[in-house]
Symmetry: C2
Subunit: 216 residues, 2 copies
């Protein structure tokens, strides 16, 4: 039974890791859709999200069964409880990628972005992919160094987001109100994506070490 | 020990209920701050959030101890696991109220809102307070009828949010880009506030009945 338990625990961790990777992939595709006004990619991100949501439900059910039948304690209990919380963050990351894709779809065939801010979103999209991949790896490795990279990427994301808001609010934005609204909401989606990755990283490291990773 | 366990379980539920009420109160104050450009109320919302975040941590710790020491099963386990998930939603609701207050503070002494949209935010603020109070009550009563009210309020919130976005995107918004950006983000904060209340309501009713409340 103990072996079966460990296998189920590993399977839960593996599912969470996959979800983080898929969330990063979703944001990569959503960013591509955004920069190229690519409707097919946007539709793919929107359609694929159901799969991530189902993975979350299945993982929560599996975690619940482990708690109910095995009454785990100490480290195992921390991993199971943490995994239940983390799959919610990973699903939400995918949900934010879907929000990006939905804006692309609504504006199609127009581009939602004035080319002036393409660079911001290319960079934020790149960071989002790194965050998804880092979360995917940290969940498996519990490596505090890799978790620190998540915090650093989050700082970079926040800086880009703030600069974007400053551009919208303080400069003479010549692209109209509708595009400013979309750009503001899009920026918010990327920033929140990073916040959820940070939560996953912190929780995993806390589970492994009893300490939260230092802020950078 | 069984009595002590039940007391701890009740205490956890009570804390969650209080957190929902406090989140509603925070959004009530934030809305007042928004409509009246009231810096003192905004600062209070921002300062008070720390308390809600501490309640979340304490509740998560208490739930973890209950899992570790009591190895609960069936209904009790569902309540404990659900409470851990719900306190995160309640904290986030308070966090969204804080975001509203932060925009008020940043724009002070200017009003963030053109008076044209005051009505939207007065109404969204009223719904948010109802949502906080409904969540507070549902957590204690597990009353499916009251949970349905949360779903109805969420529908009303989404409608207001969509109308607000349409106003920003499609009409001839005469108040400038900076205010459009703030109004778009503010609308998003209220809409997300409602989403978290819905999550709490659904989870509580599922715990009590094994069914998710019908969508209205």
């Amino acid at each position: 039974m103990c072996t079966a338990f460990n296998e189920q625990l590993d399977s839960l961790t593996e599912t969470l890791s996959q979800m983080c990777g898929l969330a990063g992939l979703a944001m990569e595709r959503a960013t591509q859709a955004l920069l190229q006004a690519d409707l097919a990619s946007a539709e793919k991100v929107i359609g694929d999200h159901e799969h991530l949501a189902r993975m979350q439900t299945d993982a929560e059910d599996a975690a619940f069964v482990l708690l109910a039948l095995q009454a785990p304690v100490a480290a195992d209990l921390r991993i199971i409880v943490g995994s239940m919380q983390n799959v919610a963050d990973a699903e939400r990351m995918g949900g934010l990628a879907r929000h990006v894709a939905q804006i692309v779809r609504r504006r199609h065939p127009e581009r939602p972005l004035p080319t002036e801010v393409d660079g911001y979103f290319a960079e934020m999209g790149g960071i989002a992919v790194d965050l998804g991949n880092s979360a995917r790896d940290v969940v498996l490795s519990r490596d505090p160094e890799r978790a620190l990279q998540i915090s650093r990427d989050d700082v970079a994301m926040n800086e880009l987001h703030q600069r974007l808001l400053t551009l919208l609010r303080e400069k003479d934005w010549p692209h109209g109100v509708a595009s400013a609204v979309d750009v503001a909401l899009l920026g918010r989606f990327y920033e929140r994506f990073a916040d959820h990755a940070v939560e996953i990283g912190r929780r995993v490291i806390f589970q492994a070490t009893g300490k939260v990773p230092d802020d950078v």
